[in-house]
Symmetry: C2
Subunit: 251 residues, 2 copies
């Protein structure tokens, strides 16, 4: 979606290391924004993005117009079921239908052998893996670890909207995930206890307004009672008008 940051740079670097040719798609997809104001304020700067792609050695930038991706009369949507429903799907109705549809189109337009996505959008990754496998699109979906600022804040194009105070406060998201991970690594297996740990940490930061705090099955994203396999800690937290998400997988 453009407004490239160090996370995207890492994806380009990984793609270059593992493939003969690297294409970067840049497309702010109107169909995955429920709120027109959110679409309107999404940061864009194609010239800057193209310069970053050149710096990182990408071979090609694919930056289609909205009409190229959705020609007049376009009337098809792709929907992924259960894994789209909770968390971001519940908070943003229609969001993942828009994601699944545009990614199917981009996969087919680009014809890539592999596609690289950041782990920060963990649910998006699950939705895209499910879609590509279920529609038999011949592409390998590769997850790359979240790239972070020195204080732990996950790289996101939305970070640009944070005021200096909100930016300082936003590091609590990563801290909350890490205290829960620490509790887990010392033996805590109650999902409610881990959720309470994350909420307690967030409550120390007055600017943080939690949207959801989740301890879910890492594959289905169903909320857990007891952790007895791999799990995903995740949360969405508002800082003023900016909503940030982050997550921590537990093996």
């Amino acid at each position: 979606m453009g407004w490239l940051h160090a996370g995207h740079r890492a994806l380009i670097g990984r793609a270059r290391a593992e493939n003969a040719t690297t294409v970067v798609s840049i497309f702010v997809n109107p169909r995955q924004f429920g709120d027109p104001a959110d679409l309107e304020r999404y940061p864009r700067n194609e010239a800057r993005d193209v310069a970053i792609c050149a710096e990182e050695g990408a071979d090609l930038v694919f930056a289609p117009s909205v009409d190229e991706v959705y020609p007049p009369g376009h009337d098809t949507s792709v929907r992924v079921g259960a894994v789209s429903a909770p968390l971001e799907g519940a908070a943003r109705p229609g969001h993942f239908d828009g994601v699944a549809t545009v990614v199917a189109i981009l996969f087919n337009l680009v014809g890539a052998d592999r596609a690289y996505f950041g782990q920060k959008d963990a649910q998006q990754l699950l939705v895209i893996r499910r879609m590509a496998a279920d529609l038999a699109i011949p592409i390998e979906v590769v997850a790359h670890p979240t790239v972070r600022e020195p204080d732990g804040l996950a790289m996101s194009s939305r970070n640009v909207h944070l005021s200096p105070a909100e930016r300082a406060a936003a590091s609590v998201v990563r801290r909350a995930l890490l205290v829960a991970r620490e509790a887990w690594s010392t033996g805590e297996r109650s999902a409610d206890a881990l959720r309470a740990t994350m909420r307690a940490e967030l409550s120390h930061e007055p600017l943080a307004e939690p949207d959801y705090v989740s301890v879910a099955d890492a594959t289905t994203l169903e909320e857990l009672t007891t952790l007895d396999g791999s799990a995903l800690l995740s949360m969405a937290v508002r800082f003023g008008s900016t909503r940030l998400i982050d997550n921590e997988p537990l093996p």
Copy 2:
């Protein structure tokens, strides 16, 4: 969907004439049957179908199991909008979601350059063209004229279910379309008049129970009031427990 007839033979012949390699997919798709009894009674004979493909010179038969097309956990659907809604879409809720989904999967699994479909399923053709274009699947969808029995009955795998009396009666479908076409060619431009012409012809056959009789825009399938461009005459008619469809495009 198998139970190959002369219409399929014509598709194979055309595909062979226009391409280096011809693949025939045979898959009775459970997701496009709303009624489990209809799925159950759909005729199947893979050995006979494979022999017909060999006779016609197909290079490869792709006859996957249900689990190959929909592996466990499959949870993605493709939906085409407005053109899916009327006629067969209204009569068979969910039918075209099942068609669009399975055809997207088959297109991706087979990787064909062109795909051949019979004009008999005119709405299906429109749905598949829309889906393939909208998802940017790199395939050309080719329509082939309906192949008919000597009395005009359109070839269909479902014809096998007709009793001898129903089989004799079923030729009324083609006659009804042709009397409407004749009225059109002599200047009739009222859609209601054409619908009445078709219904009057069907009413002469006691075994024919019309489901719908349509005069619609050839691209959008919206019902017309006045014909001032290309149109599609179409109908669905029951003969006992067998439901047949047919159509006649007007240029």
